[in-house]
């Protein structure tokens, strides 16, 4: 059946275009590609599963840093 629909402006990023705004700003303003990639990775994680997901990303990075050192050691 058909029925009237509201405008799709319900969530934060759509309301203010926040995510797009952030993404645009990241793409535009950050020159360092590694920082850009990492910032986007963190943002995506937060949007996916909140603070917990960000903490997981940080943990992965820590393991990566420590693991890299161990790898070069071996």
């Amino acid at each position: 059946m058909s029925y009237p629909r509201g405008e799709r402006v319900n969530n934060v990023e759509r309301r203010f275009g926040l995510t797009e705004l952030i993404k645009e700003a990241l793409e535009k303003e950050i020159k360092d590609p590694e920082i850009k990639e990492l910032a986007l990775r963190v943002l995506e994680a937060y949007l996916r599963d909140g603070r917990k997901a960000v903490e997981e990303v940080i943990h992965e990075l820590f393991e990566e840093a420590v693991g890299y050192a161990q790898k070069s050691n071996s």
């Binding site: 509201g6 934060v12 309301r15």
Partner: protein, 844 residues
């Protein structure tokens, strides 16, 4: 359709503090919910929120509250219905939520009275409502449903709290959350740890010392080791040379010693032989010896014949003794002597055997003689019994005859016993007849008198007694005879056994006599043989002594010959040994020299090896140090790399954190730019006094303790008196601050895109004066974006503000006041309607 939806009606039952059904018509420009604390004002507002979103912001943001807590304690379910009217399209949307404890909320949606999304999933229903409203419950709670706490945070909060409140309202708290979620604690800890490890490793490295100097020392040690090894090689070569020689000498030594020993031995033997030859004096005259030996030979041959050794006797007869075969004869003589000895011992043995046999036979003979004596004595004792036996036989006959006679007597006795019994019975009958005095004769029937009876009795008794006595006498005689015969029979049988015993002894005696004769015969034979053997033994002994005598003479001669032969033999052996000794080429002194030299060389070798061992140990230590230094440098390098990596990651994350902080500032600035102008515009309309005429929001960047940059907000107001911009929230009164905050929220409401045209204010501006309240209501009523205002308050002055606002409104303007009061079942409501022209009051 931006902001075209307004609230038309709300109905609730069993929701939070309101248990009974309550329906409020909200289709007014201004709706005032007036009542004391706990009268249900906020419950009605929460019911609207629940109807729209299926939850409330309080439930969603609280860890304690649950949806079930929204159901009234005295109700089984919560039922909420909200009607929304789209002022532009004219549609009426009705959302119904029904919640029972422990169950999911059931939702129904109607458009213009017709239900839609029947059987659709909860997500589909939720999506529809979100699209309709254009807000999430979080956004709704910040921009539409303004709670007192948000206003207070804006008015009275610290700069940080204010910044956080504004960020929440702008919806950019997410960026702050991300910023805080990026924790660098682990990186910092790890960096500190790695730095400590590097310090430790560097300390270890410094303790090892200068590796170049160690390498130089190592080179010197290696050179020294090479030299020592060369020396060791030379010594080993010499040792090898001398060991070979020594091995050869060692192999010769036993033979040398053996030869030396043999030579000594041979010399001693030769000396001994020479001595014995000199001691022998003169040679034995062979001319006397040979005839004597030949005579002995023939006599021995005779002896051997007598000993039945014919073959040996024949050999002796044939072999004449000469000087040449003297040795052979000696052997023959010895053999003969052995044979004679053998025979001698055989004879002796035979004699012994015969002696032993003779002793045995004599013992047996003595035994038999003793036995003969015993048997003779026993026979003599049995002779009277035999005589008595013979006498009884002649008088009474044998056993059978006696038994026959006894049987006859027994027969007679039986007969006499019968007669005796008969007589006795007859006597008894007569006596019975006499006793009963029978009157008639039982035979003839004649009468019997007493006299007759007496006569009969007397006569019969006399007869009977006479017969009876005769029978008894005969019986006694027979009995006596029988007894005698039985006694004789018994005696006869006993004597018969004795006689049998005598017969057996007689046989035994005869046998012993025969055996004794045999033994005597064998004894005499043995004695005869013994005598023969003694003669033979004497003869053998005589010959044995002869043989021994001749043998001794022969042996003596032969010894002399033998000694001469041995002398020659040992002289040859000695000569051979001396030759061998010369050929062996062995010098014991040289052997000693070689051993001494080798011992010295080995000692040198041990010293060199010990020195080499020390040098190798030193070299290993130095190498170990160098190796450890290399290892430590590598570990330090790796740790530094790890540190660099960790720092790099940490720096990168710090930069990312700063990026989000920057993003926050940037978005905030953009939002502020949007909101600030609107806020200023609203403030000018609302604030009716002339001391402040303009507002501005400025952002200041501060550095936090963690060295991150952070933005804080500061609202400035233009003071007309001195034309100065002052920090409004620090200088203004509470009322002014409240107007300022509300202006900010209204501006935010108006600048954000959504479909709700209602502003819901829960206990707004408690401290502002009537004029400001009036101005505020006027302002809200004038704003075209705010189509409807719902205010929940305890402050009754709002009623007057509402009245004044309605009166002063130039356009068609409707307001309603719902006065709520406490009640067990829910609020008692008094309704007062206001329009631009009239006002009416009634109770629900």
């Amino acid at each position: 359709m931006l902001r075209s939806l307004i609230l038309e009606e709300v109905e609730l039952e069993g929701f939070k503090y309101i248990s009974s059904k309550l329906r409020l018509d909200l289709n007014r420009n201004i709706v005032l919910l007036l009542g004391p604390v706990g009268s249900g004002k906020s419950t009605i507002l929460d019911a609207i929120e629940f109807a729209l979103f299926g939850t409330t912001y309080d439930v969603k943001s609280s860890r304690i509250l649950r949806l079930d807590d929204l159901v009234n304690d005295f109700s089984k379910y919560a039922h909420v219905r909200v009607k929304l009217r789209d002022l532009e399209r004219g549609h009426v949307y009705e959302i119904v939520r029904h919640k029972e404890r422990g169950k999911k909320t059931r939702t129904k949606i109607y458009i213009n009275g017709e239900q839609i999304l029947k059987g659709a999933s909860a997500d589909a229903v939720s999506d529809f409502i979100k699209n309709l409203i254009g807000l999430s419950v979080e956004d709704f709670s910040k921009q539409v449903y303004i709670r007192q706490r948000e206003l207070e945070a804006l008015m009275y909060g610290t700069p940080t709290q204010r910044a956080e409140a504004m960020d929440r309202l702008f919806g950019i708290e997410m960026l702050e959350d991300i910023f805080r979620a990026i924790s660098l604690g682990r990186f910092d800890e790890q960096i500190t740890l790695v730095e400590l490890q590097i310090t430790g490793l560097e300390k270890q490295l410094s303790e090892i010392g200068d590796t170049e100097a160690i390498k130089e020392t190592l080179n010197k040690v290696n050179q020294e080791i090479s030299k020592v090894k060369e020396e060791l090689k030379r010594v080993n070569s010499e040792i090898e040379y001398y060991e070979k020689i020594l091995e050869e000498l060692n192999s010769k030594k036993p033979e040398y010693e053996k030869l030396r020993e043999s030579i000594t031995g041979y010399r001693a033997i030769l000396d001994n032989i020479k001595l014995r030859i000199s001691e022998m004096g003169r040679e034995v005259p062979l001319s006397e010896l040979l005839p004597k030996l030949n005579e002995l030979r023939l006599r021995l041959a005779d002896l051997l014949i007598s000993l039945l050794a014919y073959k040996e006797a024949e050999t002796l007869r044939k072999e004449e003794v000469t000087e040449k075969n003297l040795s052979h004869f000696l052997e023959l003589l010895n053999e003969t002597l052995s044979l004679v000895d053998e025979k001698y011992y055989e004879v002796k043995e035979e004699m012994n055997r015969l002696n032993s046999q003779l002793v045995t036979l004599e013992a047996q003979r003595d035994g038999y003689l003793a036995k003969l004596g015993i048997l003779s004595r026993q026979l003599k004792e049995l002779e009277p019994y035999e005589e008595e036996h013979e006498k009884i036989l002649s008088n009474y006959g044998d056993v059978r005859e006696i038994k026959s006679e006894i049987a006859d007597i027994e027969s007679e006795l039986a007969e006499i016993s019968g007669l005796i019994e008969y007589e006795r019975a007859l006597l008894s009958v007569i006596k019975e007849v006499v006793r009963k005095r029978e009157k008639t004769c039982p035979v003839c029937g004649k009468e019997i008198t007493d006299n007759d009876l007496r006569k009969i009795e007397k006569a019969v008794t006399s007869i009977i007694q006479s017969e009876y006595a005769k029978y008894l006498e005969e019986h006694d005689r027979l009995m006596q005879k029988k007894n005698d015969l039985e006694a004789i029979l018994t005696r006869l049988e006993a004597l018969k056994e004795k006689v049998a015993e005598k017969r057996r002894l007689e046989i035994e005696l005869n046998e012993a006599k025969v055996e004794l004769n045999n033994l005597n015969k064998r004894i005499s034979e043995a004695e005869s043989m013994l005598e023969d053997l003694e003669i033979m033994l004497d003869e053998i002994s005589y010959y044995r002594s002869l043989i021994h005598q001749d043998l001794e003479a022969t042996e003596k001669y032969r010894s002399y010959i033998t000694l001469l032969s041995e002398l020659k033999q040992y002289e040859t052996k000695l000569k051979n040994s001396l030759v061998k000794l010369r050929e062996l080429q062995y010098n014991p002194k040289y052997h000693e020299y070689v051993e001494r030299n080798l011992a010295t060389l080995r000692n040198n070798k041990n010293q060199i090896e010990h020195r080499l061992e020390g040098l190798i140990k030193k070299r290993d230590e130095l190498e170990q140090k160098i190796k450890r230094a290399i290892q430590l440098r590598e570990e330090i390098r790796v740790m530094k790399e790890k540190l660099r990596r960790l720092k790099e990651y940490r720096d990168r994350l710090m930069k990312v954190k700063q990026v989000f902080r920057d993003m926050q500032a940037k978005i905030r600035a953009e939002m502020l730019q949007r909101v600030a102008n609107k806020m200023n515009e609203i403030f000018k309309q609302v604030y009716v006094y002339s001391d402040y005429d303009e507002l501005d929001i400025r952002v200041e960047v501060v550095t936090t303790k963690e060295k991150y940059k952070r933005s804080i907000y500061e609202i400035y107001a233009h003071r007309t008196s001195d034309d100065a911009w002052i920090p409004a929230l620090r200088r203004m009164s509470d009322g002014q601050k409240a107007i300022l905050a509300l202006s900010f929220l209204a501006a935010l409401f108006m600048t954000t895109p959504h479909n709700i045209g209602v502003m819901i204010l829960d206990e707004p501006l408690p401290n502002i004066d009537d004029a400001c309240k009036e101005a505020m209501v006027k302002m809200l009523s004038k704003l075209k974006e705010v189509r409807q205002v719902v205010i929940a308050t305890q402050d009754p002055r709002f009623v007057r503000v509402l009245e004044e606002g309605v009166k002063s409104s130039r356009e068609e303007f409707r307001g309603v006041v719902y006065k709520l009061r406490h009640s067990f079942h829910g609020p008692l409501v008094e309704v007062k309607e206001y329009t631009t022209t009239t006002s009416t009051t009634h109770h629900m």
